[in-house]
Amino acid sequence: MTALRAIGRFCYDLVIGDDWKIAAAVLLALVVGAVLAAVTTIPAVALAIVVGVLLLSTFTAAMVIGTRKQ
């Protein structure tokens, strides 16, 4: 189990890094995008732009929240 835990920790550090809010911001924006893709019929280009704006917004929020105490 120790080896598995070490591998899991390694993968977490590699992908998520030292601020989980960034990963959460990305996943939030893409989940909203996936929902829009599944339930709406907005044009493909509009969908890309909407999700792009969501990514920029959630990243900004994560940065502002993460630096509040600094």
């Binding site: 590699l14 992908v15 998520i16 890094g17 030292d18 601020d19 960034i22 990963a23 911001a25 990305v26 996943l27 893409l30 995008g33 996936a34 893709a37 599944a38 019929t41 493909a44 280009v45 969908l47 890309a48 732009i49 999700v51 792009g52 990514l55 920029l56 990243f59 900004t60 994560a62 940065m63 993460g66 630096t67 600094q70």
Partner: protein, 256 residues
């Protein structure tokens, strides 16, 4: 042709930064614990990385359908790239110390100098393990970048060539200079790589939304050319965040 050159340059630059950090660790161990141990650890790490790359690349390419692969790789690259961009923004805003290879080298050599000295089969375990871990960790990030860029560009060999070229350059410079590559504008390069990874990650993860069951595809206006637009937008947002966070830091210092 343009796409091939772009892929080569992207993987070269991203890998270059990682190799510089790995070189600092190996140099520190070589100077303090002996070159045989440092180089043995490096070779062991390279062999482990080769095996890791083969397994990961094969698994990703054969187990996932094309669109799901694009989505998964895009998400991973986007998170990875935004980590880099976040650190670059914090450094530029004065909220995080600049990366300093000289300081890193000093810390490593001091720690190595204080560690107990033993030899097994002519190898110093401390120097071997630190070199192995350092090269493997930095190398994993190179592998990650090579695989993600290579798979999405349908040209993993070119991505490997870009990364390998960076390795050759760094090793050659390190062998010639016998010191950390402190004159490399590492913080600027990390900023640029973060922008690049975030932009490509954004492009691929959004286009990969068509992998969602029942979902219709998303498509960036202008196709691949929109990546240039994404780089400009992420750059603009990062400059804005740097200005805002730097101002907030200055005001906090005045108040305190």
């Amino acid at each position: 042709m343009g796409e091939t050159v772009g892929l080569l340059v992207a993987t070269f630059v991203a890998a270059f930064v990682e190799f510089v950090e790995a070189l600092t660790i190996v140099l520190a161990m070589g100077v303090t614990r002996g070159w045989r141990s440092a180089l043995a650890g490096t070779v062991a790490a390279v062999l482990a990385l080769a095996a890791f790359t083969s397994v990961l690349g094969y698994a990703l390419a054969t187990w996932l359908p094309r669109t799901a692969l694009q989505l998964v790789v895009g998400i991973l690259l986007l998170i990875f790239g935004l980590q880099w961009l976040r650190k670059a923004i914090l450094r530029s805003a004065g909220l995080k110390a600049l990366h300093d290879e000289d300081a890193e080298f000093r810390e490593r050599t001091e720690a190595a100098g204080a560690a107990p000295r033993r030899r097994r089969f002519g190898i110093d375990p401390f120097g071997f393990v630190v070199s192995l871990k350092g090269v493997f960790l930095e190398g994993t990030e190179v592998v990650f970048i090579v695989i993600t860029f290579g798979l999405n560009a349908n040209d993993v060999p070119i991505a490997v060539v870009g990364a390998a070229a960076a390795g050759v350059v760094v090793i050659t410079l390190g062998a010639a200079l016998h010191q950390p590559l402190t004159r490399v504008p590492e913080n600027t390069l990390k900023y640029g790589v973060g922008l690049m990874l975030a932009s490509f990650g954004t492009f691929w993860s959004v286009e990969g939304l068509s992998a969602v069951d029942g979902g219709h595809p998303a498509a960036w206006p202008g196709g691949d050319w929109s990546i240039l637009g994404l780089i400009a937008i992420w750059f603009g947002l990062s400059r804005l965040l740097i200005a805002v966070l730097a101002k907030r830091r200055e005001m906090a210092e005045v108040v305190s």
